[in-house]
């Protein structure tokens, strides 16, 4: 198998951090906040590495679009087993449409046979980049994947849907977006973290790709959602039912 798997990853505020809205309403505070690889992207990296380990793929290339600091998530991905990495450098915050334009250029240059990526980034919660990218490449898509099998030039993808699971069969090349149950990502071992430091990491200036990265959305404001006020503790199930009936009038 000669297939190359491209795995786009994103550096986001760590999932354990409760973000705070910036005082001027322009966004959220990211200064001094712990950053990590988007959890769904970790699942995508793991799946790509497993495909290579099973012999279904030849090489796993990770790519991110971001500032110099985003190198750390590329090193993490390589410590998990990715072979090499590409940083498309920009200091701007790009929308999924713009990121898809960048990824299309990279996928074309790399002649990727499969793009495996997280279904959603936990910062902007867009759940859109994979689908936009698939459309722009003219490739089929297997979104919200819980299982994948590569055979005979096709990929079969089990997809999480509202009422259960659906299976689709796609021609390759294709875009697959990873859902929670696809796998459990491995922890990078210390020797592998050391090894990852020596793996190739190429930096590409975003302007050199010549793609449209303009924003189509203007952020008017970012605000805190209304806080729920803390309720009361009750001592028994009977008291609870009484309150639900007479006070909340919900049952």
């Amino acid at each position: 198998m000669t297939m190359k798997v491209l795995v786009p990853v994103k550096r986001v505020v760590d999932y354990n951090v409760k973000v705070r809205v910036a005082a001027d309403g322009s966004g959220v505070e990211t200064q001094g906040v712990k950053m990590s690889m988007n959890p769904f992207d970790e699942i995508a990296v793991e799946e790509a590495v497993r495909l290579r380990e099973k012999g279904a793929a030849k090489e796993v290339v990770v790519v991110t679009v971001g500032a110099q600091a985003a190198q750390d998530v590329l090193r993490t991905a390589m410590a998990m087993g990715a072979d090499r990495a590409i940083l498309v450098r920009t200091d701007d915050t790009l929308e999924p449409r713009a990121v898809a334009n960048v990824l299309k250029a990279i996928a074309t240059r790399e002649e990727a046979g499969l793009i495996c990526m997280g279904k959603q980034a936990i910062d902007d919660d867009m759940n859109a980049t994979g689908q936009i990218l698939a459309a722009k490449l003219g490739w089929p898509q297997g979104t919200f994947a819980s299982a994948v099998t590569v055979a005979d030039g096709r990929i079969e993808v089990a997809r999480e849907i509202d009422g259960g699971t659906e299976v689709v069969s796609l021609t390759l090349p294709a875009v697959v977006t990873a859902d929670l149950r696809l796998n459990e990502p491995r922890y990078a071992s210390l020797p592998n973290i050391m090894k990852a430091r020596k793996k190739p990491l190429e930096t590409v200036e975003i302007d050199s790709l010549g793609v449209d990265t303009a924003s189509r959305l203007t952020v008017v404001s970012v605000a805190e959602p209304a806080e729920r006020k803390e309720g009361v503790k009750v001592n028994s199930a009977a008291e609870l039912v009484e309150k639900l009936k007479t006070e909340a009038k919900v049952i």
């Binding site: 936990i122 910062d123 509202d162």
Partner: protein, 301 residues
Amino acid sequence: MTALVLVEVENGAVRQASRSAVAAASRFGAVDAIVFGDGAQAAAALPGVTRVLSVPGLVNDLAEPAADLLAARAKDYSHILAAASATGKNILPRLAGLLDVQPIPDVVEIKDADTFVRPIYAGNALATVRSSDSIKVLTVRGSNFDPVAAEGGSATVETIEAPASEKSVFVKVELSASDRPELESARVVISGGKGLKDAANFKLLEPIADKLNAAIGASRAAVDSGFAPNEMQVGQTGKIVAPELYIAVGLSGAIQHLAGMKDSRVIVAINTDPEAPIFKVADYGIVGDLFEVLPTLEKAL
């Protein structure tokens, strides 16, 4: 301005989340609906819908032919909407890619024809964004828009050929058999977390769900641990619910879970840990062992 809504029909009835999307779309002007597979008649009965584009040949909601078809029709519309369901989230961003516009997912409020509010960071912030695209492609959260009624309209129906799909082929679907109401439209939801300790104990929720005609949900941790299937997951990366009553059993209330249920009208939490974050959003809390509380709750109902 005319809006086009991708309407999902299940067992002959329009899904509640799609009726909410029609309600949201009517804010922009006239509303057309598009239905894949059977179900054009159900969509034609929705109040506010003037025309239904029926695509009976496209039975499995495959994103590739669906997005192609929507893209071919897009120039007639100022806004194209769907529910923020698995189907909406699969097809609409692909459509946006074909149109080269930036989609606006999970809209919770419409300010005007160009300006929308959507949650980011698991609902810990609300972003108001203005779109400069000529066609707006959005998915809307059903729980934030009162659905239109299921009956009362009389739209015309136009039948369209389905485009072929060669790159993507439907293989099969496995739906969980359940007589319970669906999570997103249930009046009462009871959810279990890791505190239930194993998959078998999820059954402890059933007698209470039966009495309240409730849907059963699960935390991501419970799904991760294999206690419950993913379609039961409530949270940032699962289903977003806002029932009249939400009962959280043995779940701590992680940020990403709260993102999926904190807009419920009344929240009840049962947990052994008095410091669990779920109590911060609960209207009524019981600090105690769920294995003791659940049987007494069932009796008290």
